[in-house]
Amino acid sequence: MERKVKAKIIDEVGLKRTTTRLAHEILEQNRGADNLVIVGIRTRGIYLAQRIIDEITNIEGKNIPLGILDITMYRDDFRERLRQPVVQQTEIPFDIYDKNVVLVDDVLYTGRTTRAALEALMSFGRPARIQLAVLVDRGHRELPIKPDYVGKNIPTSIGEEVQVKMREVDDEDCVLLVESPSGTNDEINL
């Protein structure tokens, strides 16, 4: 659905710079790419995670494994929903035991997606630590969750939504601030 765009917050060049910075921060914080794995949350978290991995490969010359997490089975709201989300595949083709895991998502909002993702990750083993990287933090947390790496903090009102577009699935690379249709959130906002 097309919604009224209030502002373009990050453009294509900006998105590239932000991804590069996130990659540098992750490497700095973890003292390199050893023992590091990156897990993207469906859908756009995967593409963002892949881009961060590509940046890390550019910087350090090392290849980092990518995992894909679908959190549908861990949602706390599907019973109340008219439309049930389709369960998609989770692919974590490596052992996360004792690894430094960076969880990647496009937008951090209530924190419920992150909570679900943390619970899902735990059933794959016991990582050394889990960090959270997001492209946009739009505030309004409902759980005590704080990101380790943030592309951009964007204070929003409840009547607004942050739309991340990525070339892998959309027609362009950008982040938009849009109006929610008549104040209702028909987007699944976890």
Partner: protein, 309 residues
């Protein structure tokens, strides 16, 4: 695609889109089974009763495991050690279960239509785990899931169902499901074991097993239901094996790749040679069992969402 059904009573009338959604969902749930901790909280707080009025190992364990993998609370009920042995009717049992606030009921019963009957007395969802000689939808779904893994697309596949079709709920569910998905289904059995209504299904029937093998890509071999052979449908088990048993010799004569499925339990050496059942070049029987858990998780998940609010 939204799954709108409240119950899963059979595959007759279930659309190709719905079956595809179930199979796709099952493929996602299958990954859970390979995790170090193979459990997700999806059905936390839901209560499922497994109501088994007939003997079952695979289906009952498979449902119970699926429920536990999804974190549902499960209660098992079997007719032999319950008030049924004191003469309680299905309706009374159902109303008592309803009074205990149960979300879903999985039922196996010797009478065709028992799951449909239950829907009148229970507010929750009812899943048919086999009713008499009528349907066994989750078995057909796990068969289709297994075939999708080995053959990618169900469309155009030649599937021959060989054996006691007359008494087989598995055959009926597979005929409905597979033809809906675009596969071609044929039956092969001694004439007395072909049900009269098969004329309405408009599918091929073979009375010679070699012809069926020559035609088929896949054989679904059915168990000769010794406990249901009240009339003499064929002279003896040895004669059945000689004329309709699936043997290595018969398959090698066909000289092509054939996949063998069997819903279990197998009468080894009667409808299917023992070494064929264990030969991974032909048999996908144990894959069927693994997929059974995934398919049942998918069904439980899809039926658990509220239809209206």
């Amino acid at each position: 695609m939204v799954f709108k059904r409240k119950h899963l009573l059979g595959l007759e009338g279930v659309s190709a889109e719905e079956i595809k959604l179930i199979l796709d969902t099952a493929a996602s749930f299958k990954e859970v089974l390979d995790r170090p901790i193979p459990k997700v909280p999806t059905l936390r707080g839901k209560t499922v009763v497994n109501l088994f009025y007939e003997a079952s190992t695979r289906t009952r364990i498979s449902f119970e495991l699926a429920e536990k993998r999804l974190s549902a609370d499960t209660i098992n009920f079997s007719a032999s050690n319950s008030s049924v042995s004191k003469g309680e009717s299905l309706r009374d049992t159902a109303q008592n279960i309803e009074a205990m606030k149960v979300d879903m009921v999985v039922i196996r019963h010797a009478a065709a239509g028992a799951p449909h009957f239950l829907t009148h007395w229970i507010k929750g969802s009812v899943i048919n785990a086999g009713d008499g000689c009528h349907e066994h939808p989750t078995q057909a779904l796990l068969d289709m899931m297994t075939l999708r893994e080995t053959h990618d697309d169900l469309k155009g596949l030649h599937v021959a169902i060989v054996g006691d079709i007359l008494h087989s709920r598995v055959a009926r569910s597979n005929i409905f499901g597979l033809t809906t998905m675009g596969a071609e289904v044929a039956l092969c059995a001694p004439a007395p074991l072909i049900p009269i209504e098969s004329e309405q299904w408009k599918i091929k029937t073979f009375f010679n097993v070699d012809q069926a093998i020559a035609w088929a890509d896949i054989l679904i071999v059915l168990r000769i239901q010794l406990e249901r052979q009240t009339a003499n449908f064929f002279p003896s088990l040895r004669e059945y094996h000689n004329y309709f048993g699936i043997t290595r010799e018969r398959l090698e004569k066909a000289g092509k790749k054939i996949t063998i499925m069997h819903p279990g339990p197998i009468n080894r050496g009667i409808e299917l040679d023992s070494d064929l059942a264990d030969d991974p070049d032909f048999s996908v029987i144990l894959n069927q069992v693994t997929n059974g858990v995934a398919v049942r998780m998918a069904i439980l998940y899809l039926l658990s969402g509220e239809v209206e609010k």
